[in-house]
Amino acid sequence: MNFDSREFDKLTRQAAEMMSDIGDVPILLRSRLGEHHRISRAADEMLTGIETLVRELRSFDASAAKPFIDKAFIDQDAGETDFVVS
């Protein structure tokens, strides 16, 4: 079975892109609502969570990890997730 670290590189890249795309959301909310508003705080926490995910993905050694397979519901193809909707 293949457990390709390149797949994790791709996932890491996708997470980093998402972090970049969403990065100005907390800034915009702070400028409109102030930094103490509950929505601004929620956005800050959101970004912190995504930054943690990206950092952990970057430091993750995929080649040393034990793969987990769940073929009953999901079919993986080169890092893409294909869902069969019927």
Binding site: A15, I22, R32, H37, I39, L57, P67, F73
Partner: protein, 162 residues
């Protein structure tokens, strides 16, 4: 709460897209490492954080609009004639998501919102998010109670058999 309409549109669109991407990431990571792995939990937590922010913004908007009459959200029934006829013409099952999606889109248009690329994208994204959420719940149920899904267990055994 005062956020200009254009900013709100941008925020909701950006967060909706990010939520979908984060959910897909969580599914991809979970399928490789399992639901208990720290990375899977971090990915789920990230998706949840986006969901929370989006909900907070929507709640803020709803509070602001409390004094104004809210247009009634169209109810979608798979037994409605439009859904049934579209399903019949397209050859799809009446329970399939596409007829219900088309019906919802037409209902929004009838309420005066029109049909724009942006609205179609947003509605489709909502359908996809709902599907992903249901998918994650179903998968969790399958893992927790595999004996309740003997047909899937048989299929999985056949798929992994040499």
């Amino acid at each position: 709460m005062h956020i200009p309409e254009a900013d709100l549109e941008y925020l909701i669109r950006t967060l909706s897209e990010a939520r979908s991407r984060a959910t897909e990431l969580a599914v991809s990571i979970g399928s490789r490492l399992g639901g208990e792995h720290r990375l899977t939990q971090l990915a789920n937590s990230a998706a949840s954080g986006i969901e929370t922010t989006l909900r907070e913004i929507r709640n803020g908007v709803a509070e602001k609009q409390d004094a104004q009459p809210v247009p009634r959200k169209p109810e979608i029934h798979t037994s409605s004639p439009v859904v049934a006829s579209f399903a019949e013409v397209s050859g799809l099952d009446a329970e399939h998501w596409l007829p219900a999606f088309v019906q919802e889109l037409l209902a929004h248009a009838r309420l005066g919102g029109g049909i724009t690329f942006e609205r179609v994208e947003r509605l489709l994204q909502q359908r996809k998010d709902e599907f992903l959420r249901d998918f994650l719940i179903a998968r969790r149920m399958y893992r927790t109670y595999p004996h309740l899904f003997p047909e899937f267990a048989d299929r999985a055994r056949r798929a992994t058999a040499p």
